[in-house]
């Protein structure tokens, strides 16, 4: 009888410990968001979004150059990364038993696990070392390389959810394979593919490491991808390491903007996924 009480007591104790673990696990998120809000909100004004940085040591200024830089580099990365990633995803879902699909699937897993800084070194040797100068193009190339495997895997997973009967129906109606794939299979999973793409965009928008020695960063407004370019994550890094109080203030505000962008993208992706899983899950 006593032993039974002890066993129940151990069980309850372990559950208590796990609830404690949940609290500890949620704590960092709460703390990070709270610190960002407290330190960042006060610096978010119109100048922050419209102006370029003030000269070192002076107060004021904004991060307009970094917003433009991030938009342009992520945009260019999408132009390269999305078609390749989506195309590869469709291929490995539509021709699953081909040898190329197996290889691509395996390699894209390896690529997904590759540290982003290593991809940065690759973009450096591929573009910066050959061009002999830092450029937004090199940054975009590194970001695209990070996007491709993510987009490929989510596209493939989404297409796999399409019931086979849908495919059979289209083929039975006399659709050729390519039209079955595009007009029926891809069309049905379009929201899912958009979701995967959004998640990939959210992830690369926050990447700093691959931009450090490709886009390098810049203090000036510029829209030329062939020149060094600023980016929001680079701004956070540079300003956090800087000696000035005003820089730290801007770093917090930039981090807040960055995290809002990333959260909004991830949230909309999540809502889109729920709709799809609701349909086929």
């Amino acid at each position: 009888m006593n032993r039974r009480v002890l066993r129940r007591w151990i069980s309850n104790f372990m559950v208590g410990t796990m609830i404690f673990a949940v609290l500890i696990a949620v704590l960092p998120l709460v703390l990070i968001l709270a610190t960002l809000l407290v330190k960042g909100v006060s610096s978010l004004n119109l100048a922050f979004f419209l102006k370029t940085p003030a000269p070192a040591g002076e107060s004021g200024g904004g991060v307009a150059h970094a917003i433009i830089g991030t938009l342009m580099m992520v945009g260019a990365a999408c132009l390269i990364g999305l078609p390749i990633g989506i195309g590869a995803g469709i291929f490995s879902a539509e021709y699953p038993s081909s040898r190329l699909a197996t290889i691509t699937r395996f390699i894209s897993d390896v690529m997904n696990g590759t540290p982003s800084i290593v991809v940065g070194v690759f973009a450096w040797t591929l573009i910066v070392a050959r061009q002999k100068h830092f450029s937004g193009y090199a940054g975009s190339a590194a970001l695209a390389m990070l996007m491709i495997p993510m987009v490929m895997r989510t596209t493939e997973e989404m297409i796999k959810l399409v019931p086979h009967s849908l495919r059979e129906a289209a083929l039975a109606l006399g659709y050729p394979r390519w039209r079955t794939s595009l007009a029926v299979v891809v069309r049905t999973t379009l929201p899912g593919i958009v979701t995967g793409s959004l998640l990939a965009v959210a992830r690369v928008s926050g990447e700093t490491a691959p931009l450090l020695f490709t886009a390098l960063g810049s203090q000036f407004m510029g829209t030329n991808l062939n020149q060094p370019m600023g980016a929001l994550p680079l701004t956070v890094y540079t300003y956090a390491n800087g000696p000035y109080e005003d820089w730290h203030r801007l770093a917090w505000a930039t981090a807040l903007v960055l995290i809002l962008v990333v959260f909004v993208l991830s949230l909309s992706a999540r809502i889109a996924t729920r709709r799809i899983f609701g349909r086929y899950g």
């Binding site: 960002l36 390389m145 490491a209 450090l212 956090a240």
Partner: protein
């Protein structure tokens, strides 16, 4: 969830119409180019890393990973402290993150009331969406002061007899970097092990409870062993993330090229040295040495990820097969 069968290959032959085969072949051709781009890019990456580090490989060879002097001016490069720092910070991070994330995963799948499961796992997964540099910023201005003034002195006073908790406290240290890494890898380990635990069949739980086990005993004797291979996979996935993590670690580890027993001492990692020195490297051999570091880091992460796969494959073959009827 119902199992969805893989679409069968449909033969391209026998359509009857000539034009169809052409357009189908063109469609397949375009997709093939996209799919082939991935292995080609990867091969290119490995080749460029190797080509970039050839100079350093021929000059230092294997000594590169066994010596400790990193001096760009004297053109001497040894990466042992970097490799040590990468491995130690990642393993320490796992030491902190694994119990926490498994506790959360088990609680959420086995004990938590239905209505709080989704919100909590969503909150923790949000942690995975926070960019690394934001962790770094928060770490430098919030976590470091807190650790320096409260946690580290406490550890020193309580466990100061151990060599790990001796020496001066700077703030930026191996331990600080490991703590931020632990926070960063926790959501990955948590969400993968949660998926694994959810997929454990209910018969497993019912059997244990029917034998008179308490709920905790059911977890530890029937559910966790069943999900063992997947949980190991989740942990190794977390390890892979931690090894390559750059920005937050660079900002918190102190960037000193030394192997120290004390966790309060600054350290350095492979990713951090590349981040700090690559854009400022002046000589060819310096670039080459950094490229060599990138190559080593790449190989380590590939090995870890491949190891995870093999391990999962082995344990799941040797493990319980489940669903045996009466």
């Amino acid at each position: 969830m119902t199992a969805i069968t893989q679409p069968a290959e449909v033969s391209d032959q026998g359509h009857g119409l000539e034009g169809r085969n052409v357009s189908d072949a063109a469609f397949r051709g375009v997709l093939t180019v996209c799919a082939a781009a991935i292995p080609i890019l990867m091969g290119f990456l490995v080749w460029e890393l190797y080509a970039g580090s050839r100079l350093a490989i021929s000059r230092f060879g294997v000594r590169f990973v066994t010596t400790s002097i990193w001096d760009p001016v004297a053109e001497k490069f040894g990466a042992l402290p970097l490799i040590f720092g990468t491995l130690l910070s990642s393993l320490l991070a796992l030491l902190i993150a694994v119990p926490l994330s498994l506790g959360v995963a088990i609680y959420l799948t086995e004990f938590a009331p239905e209505r709080i499961r989704k919100p909590i796992s969503f909150l923790i997964e949000l942690l995975a969406a926070i960019p690394s540099v934001v962790y770094g910023l928060w770490g430098v201005f919030f976590l470091l002061p807190f650790l320096r003034t409260s946690v580290f002195p406490f550890l020193k006073a309580t466990f100061g007899f151990l060599p790990f908790f001796q020496g001066p406290i700077y703030g930026q240290s191996m331990l600080a970097a490991s703590i931020i890494l632990a926070i960063m890898v926790m959501p990955y380990i948590m969400s993968v092990s949660r998926e694994v635990l959810v997929s454990v069949p209910n018969s497993q739980r019912e059997a244990a409870l029917a034998m008179g086990a308490t709920r905790w005993e059911a977890v530890i004797s029937a559910i966790v062993p069943y999900a063992k291979s997947g949980i190991i996979g989740a942990i190794i996935l977390g390890l892979g993330r931690a090894l390559g993590e750059t920005m937050a670690v660079t900002m918190l580890i102190g960037n000193r090229n030394e192997i120290a027993a004390s966790l309060f001492a600054p350290g350095y990692t492979m990713a951090a040295v590349i981040a700090n020195e690559f854009s400022e490297a002046a000589s060819d051999i310096h670039f080459s040495a950094l490229s060599y570091v990138a190559l080593v880091l790449f190989l380590v992460t590939v090995l870890v990820n491949a190891g995870a796969r093999i391990l999962i494959w082995r344990t799941s073959r040797g493990g319980p097969q489940g669903g045996r009827g009466i």
